[in-house]
């Protein structure tokens, strides 16, 4: 899904939140059965809180933003370690390697929509590959930005199927190169009851293109199952989100017009003549 936000929060498009929820739901079985869960680039943990129903004994939340990790700890309900670290920084990566080497096994590391925010990602990948060689399971995702040709201003690198291809030779041979597809659909309920029923993916169009690439490697990732996080659309939230965006856009468009007018006036008005002495 195309978006231009840096992180998920309460004002995010509900469909985009569901997008994130699905990824955490994919990793949930691994997280649930781990002794340590490390969530890299945890953000506000809005999606993690919805998808991860059972956390392991030790939960480690890492993000570059102190504000985000604090919000994540609140969202997950306490008991989590929080660390403010830059995953493109060599010292912080050394810290992460040490943490992963010393943590209780089994370890699950999630890094959803993180890699594209880093100035350099090769250090983090090496660190994660090393961790998987020591027994950790790693699940990470990157967006298929290139398909739309969009450029999120917070993304430092651009990802696509060829970009994922470039990683193939660098990641462990057992790596699963998964993909996430956006679903569209509708649900008919005979009694008008909006309680969710069993979800099923009805079909796949010939032009299906992944919205995200989901890579997983480690001893237990072979057990990961496909997951579809489908729930009844929250129209109330969607209406709020869309109207809010429309109102904001209209307000700022108007303001830009006013500012342009002022600029035109300022540049076309001749400088006031000083009275002759």
């Amino acid at each position: 899904m195309t978006h231009w936000e840096e992180r998920i929060d309460g004002a995010t498009d509900p469909a985009l939140v569901d997008d994130h929820v699905a990824r955490y739901a994919f990793a949930a079985p691994l997280v649930r059965t781990s002794a340590t869960w490390v969530d890299l680039g945890c953000g506000n943990a809005v999606a993690a809180a919805r998808a991860i129903d059972q956390r392991p004994e030790r939960t480690v939340l890492v993000d570059v933003s102190a504000e985000a990790v604090a919000a994540a700890a609140r969202e997950l309900g306490g008991g989590a370690e929080t660390h403010v670290r830059d995953l493109a920084d060599a010292e912080d990566l050394a810290w992460l390697s040490e943490l992963l080497a010393g943590a209780a096994s089994p370890i699950c590391v999630t890094a959803f929509e993180v890699v594209e925010h880093l100035e350099h990602f090769d250090g983090l990948l090496r660190c994660l590959v090393q961790a998987s060689e020591n027994g950790a399971d790693v699940v990470l995702s990157v967006p298929n930005d290139a398909f739309w040709g969009t450029q999120n201003p917070y993304h430092r690198t651009i990802w696509s199927a060829p970009a994922i291809d470039e990683l193939r030779s660098m990641l462990p041979p057992e790596t699963r190169f998964g993909a996430q597809y956006e679903l569209s659909g509708s649900w008919v309920t005979p009694d008008g009851d909006a309680q969710p029923g069993p979800a099923a993916v009805a079909g796949r169009g010939s032009g299906a293109v992944p919205s995200q690439f989901v890579l997983s490697f480690g001893p237990r990732v072979a057990d990961a199952e496909p997951v579809a996080a489908v729930r009844v659309a929250d129209w109330a939230a969607r209406r709020r989100w869309e109207r809010q965006r429309e109102a904001d856009l209209a307000y700022f468009a108007d303001e830009i017009e006013v500012l342009r007018r002022r600029l035109r006036e300022a540049t076309t008005t001749p400088p006031s003549q000083e009275p002759m002495a």
Binding site: D122, L125, Q151, P162, E166, S169
Partner: protein, 454 residues
């Protein structure tokens, strides 16, 4: 980490530019100690800001050093690769370079052999990666796309509408390099029916531009080239061999689309009908019709150009490409070396195939030599005949000359001369009148005959 790239020379070329850019990224962004080893000519030093922080040495000096990984970059440098002491040896394959040479050129074999060396491979295009995986089973093959210098080729903010006027077509390449297809491009231009304006960008200074090329520029710097792309609607490329196929992608950054052959590398980013048009091989007429279509349908042209810009926006910068190259080199150093036996069978097969091909060529040459010899023998026979005839003529001529000489020196010839003189004076005039009478004429002839024959 200490890494070196082997280059044939530092002359300005696309392939060298890619290596220099990777070297720059590794040295400045990834804390690697990077050396460029020049194996061939030391001329034409790369006067380029990207060399800052990168050591440049010759092969002799490299032999005295030691590296974590040494990387060959052009097939010829692969022959020097194992002279450079290193923990790991790798080969950055930018194209299957044997394809640059025409059939029976010995370089086809010597270049092809390098693809089965027991080294790790890095390449910039998926079509090359897939072939290398097949050529060298078990070898590490890393796919690292070339980045684009987004400062030199900045993505245009907005594609300007090219609603009217001639279709602005740009041709790029060296006309004397057969696989660049410049002659075919010119032929396509000749078959256009819609108005167009064609520019040829080439480094070939001695080339006589054909009449359909309205403007010729070059050699150009990369920034000048970027400006040219921005001033054109479409790049026409009829190439037959390409590696990663950089020029149309650079043009995409500047808002031009492409009409191209389905050349190797085009599938890295060209989507027919989305950001460019892909013509069939050898279909010059069809290619011309594509350009005519763009000249007439300016909405389609605008759509292709806009999508080309989107494609360009999503293409990695050199920063991102540098990350992947760093990752690939580290993986090469950290992983065990490929089993040299894996590629040995393939290499032997290649040598055998190459020698068979060379043998065929040799046989063909021998047959040709025999034919020529027969022709020469035949011609020599003919020549001998003609010579004999000439000798006969000479002999006859000499004999006649002798006869003539004898006549000239005879007393009768001298007497004849006296008569001639006599007939030339007054006596002659009188005789002339006398000879008007037929009886006198007959008598005089008989008398003269008696005088000269006796």
């Amino acid at each position: 980490m200490k890494v070196c790239f082997l280059l044939n020379d530092l002359a300005l070329s696309g392939g060298t530019g890619v290596v220099v850019e990777h070297a720059h990224q590794l040295a400045t962004q990834h804390d690697m100690e990077v050396t460029l080893v020049v194996c061939g000519s030391q001329d034409g030093a790369w006067d380029y800001r990207r060399l800052a922080g990168v050591r440049v040495i010759d092969l002799a000096e490299a032999r005295r050093d030691r590296f974590d990984v040494a990387v060959a970059t052009w097939w010829r440098t692969a022959y020097d690769l194992f002279d450079v002491p290193a923990e790991r040896h790798a080969y950055f394959v930018q194209s299957l370079e044997e394809r640059f040479y025409e059939r029976f050129a010995t370089e086809r074999l010597t270049a092809a052999l390098t693809h089965t060396l027991p080294v790790a491979f890095i390449t910039e295009a998926r079509w090359i990666r897939d072939l290398l995986v097949a050529f060298a089973p078990g070898a590490q093959v890393h796919y690292v796309r070339n980045g684009i210098d987004k400062e030199v080729f900045p993505v245009v903010h907005e594609v300007s509408r090219s609603a009217e006027g001639r279709l602005r077509i740009l041709l790029e390449g060296h006309p004397e390099v057969w696989f660049k297809g410049i002659d075919e491009s010119v032929e396509v231009l000749r078959q256009l029916t819609e108005p167009f304006q064609a520019t040829l960008v080439t480094g070939a200074t001695g080339y006589q531009s054909p009449e359909v090329v309205h403007r010729r520029v070059g050699p150009l710097t990369q920034r000048e080239l970027a400006k040219e792309y921005a001033e054109h609607d479409v790049v026409l490329k009829m190439s037959r061999v390409e590696g990663m196929y950089g020029p149309p992608l650079e043009a995409f950054h500047r808002g031009a689309t492409v009409v191209t052959t389905p050349v190797t590398g085009h599938d890295e980013y060209v989507e027919h009908g989305w950001n460019g048009l892909v013509a069939d091989w050898d279909d010059l007429r069809g290619t011309a019709r594509f350009l005519d279509l763009l000249a007439r349908d300016r909405v389609l042209l605008h759509r292709l150009r806009r999508n080309a810009v989107d494609t360009a926006r999503a293409w990695p910068s050199w920063d991102q490409a540098g990350d992947v190259m760093a990752g690939a080199l580290r993986a090469i150093v950290e992983r065990p070396m490929a089993d040299p036996r894996q590629g040995a069978a393939r290499m032997l097969g290649d040598i055998l195939a190459g020698t068979v091909e060379q043998g065929l060529e040799r046989r063909q040459l021998i047959v040709e030599i025999h034919e020529r010899r027969r022709e020469v023998d035949h011609l020599q026979g003919e020549l001998a005949k003609v010579k004999g005839q000439i000798d006969d003529y000479h002999a006859q001529l000499l004999a006649k000359g002798d006869e003539l000489s004898a006549v000239v020196h005879s007393p009768r010839w001298a007497y004849g001369g006296a008569v001639q003189r006599l007939l030339g004076g007054r006596m002659g005039r009188a005789m002339g009148r006398l000879l008007e009478h037929p009886v006198a004429r007959r008598s005089l002839r008989r008398a003269l005959l008696r005088l000269t024959s006796g």
